[in-house]
């Protein structure tokens, strides 16, 4: 039903596997050598080991426990202890729907994956984890657009919002040598895709227009850190 982000595409390189949690669903997200991304239940069908502890070999994910290899369709195709055996078709990882769009990896654990449409010409800035609910995190990012904009003496505008994505426009960076955000005719767009890890943890995956400069992106990264502090103070906890 709900499609949510789990990572910036940049942060999952080829031959890497990572753990991600989405509304309390524990998953292993991995990218094959040729670049195919998969999101699976974080559980090896053999002995229940977390597959996020495993490793990628070519187009397969191997479990760290007994080395069972699963291909991109989730089918087990190699068991090291029985190298001659063709594993039964029933040995299969539990797959979730996953797609990559606008530099973000999106997953729906219960249905079809349909990410919010964002421009494709963006660059990855960072992912920042916040110890509060998704609603409080979203509110904090919105509050800070006027309370403490990305750069001083400017307005950061909320252009659009959905439960999982905030789109902002930021017209001015402080001391930017390349005054991209200063260019009123071509302001920087900022996209904040929110991931509900669980009721008390949210991750904000942040991207910005391609023409945002290095200085802009660093200002944005620091701003996100400030918003995090604000959001966590408002729930009276840093943990």
């Amino acid at each position: 039903m709900t499609t949510q982000p789990v990572s910036l595409s940049r942060d999952l390189a080829e031959k890497q596997v990572m753990r991600a949690e989405l509304s309390d669903v524990d998953m292993a997200v991995w990218r094959s050598a040729s670049g195919v991304v998969s999101a699976w239940e974080n559980r090896c069908p053999h002995r229940g080991m977390r597959l996020s502890h495993g490793f990628v070999r070519g187009e397969s994910l191997a479990c760290a426990y007994h080395g069972w290899h699963y291909n991109c369709e989730g089918a087990c195709h190699y068991i090291p202890a029985h190298p001659e055996l063709e594993p039964p078709k029933t040995i299969k990882a539990n797959l979730y729907n996953v797609t990559e769009a606008s530099g973000i990896i999106w997953v729906n654990a219960v249905g079809t994956v349909s990410p919010v449409t964002l421009p494709s010409n963006t660059q990855a800035v960072r992912s920042v984890s916040v110890h509060c609910s998704l609603e409080i995190a979203a509110q904090a990012f919105k509050d800070y657009c006027s309370l403490s904009p990305i750069t001083a003496n400017t307005r950061t505008e909320v252009v659009s919002e959905s439960p999982y994505v905030l789109a902002l426009k930021a017209p001015l960076p402080a001391n930017s040598p390349t005054p991209s955000m200063q260019d009123k005719s071509n302001p920087v767009s900022v996209f904040i895709a929110l991931q509900r890890v669980n009721q008390t943890t949210t991750v904000a995956h942040i991207t910005a227009s391609e023409h945002a400069s290095e200085t802009d992106c660093i200002a944005l990264s620091r701003w996100a850190n400030k918003v995090r502090t604000h959001a966590e103070v408002s729930v009276g906890s840093t943990e």
Binding site: D11, G58, A62, R126, I218, S221, T238
Partner: protein
Amino acid sequence: MSFTLHDYVLSGNCYKVRLLAQILGVAYTVKPVDFHPGKAHKTPEFLALNPHGTLPVLESDNTLLTDSSAMLVWIAQQFDTTHTWWPTNDAHRLALTVQWLGFSAKLTESIGQLRLHTMLNRPADAATLNTLSTENLRELENHLCEQSIRGLAFLTGDQPTVADIACFAYSALSPDAGIEHTLYPAIRGWLHRIRCLEGFLTMPGIYEAHETRNEHTAAS
């Protein structure tokens, strides 16, 4: 000039020294110390060597060191012919290296202590250590995010220094203390780059980068 390392296999601070020595291809003598459960680092014999009763201890002909950061500097200065691990010919990077060596001590005091508490039941205020560990990992994550925006792969620039080794150990071992890397993507990328360095050495809790090995590729 080689050296002797008084070592405990599970100690992150001892591991830093073994890791740099391995990367630089330096041969040395290991003297294992029964830190747990034997508390051999508190015996009169050991205290005669190091009155602080801490590990590691590095001994060579004219040097006795009891601080792991100092050991990293000594080893790099002594054996690194490229002068990149202790970049004495670059004031900026040298100063940043010292700055992050200082930060590595904070990781030992937070994650290192929490790990001792979690693994060996050392009495500690776990909640406070957990908050401190999170603060320190966030500081590191913030910095590595900015480095990645600048296109720089390591703490002080495009090449690793002794500061990367010093900060690597307890960052990589944080799952032992109950803090996973899931929420720290920039740290995860940096840990992986260090694990891929030529001559990388593992320890219990820090594994090799399996995916970079090529031995078996199953026919699909």
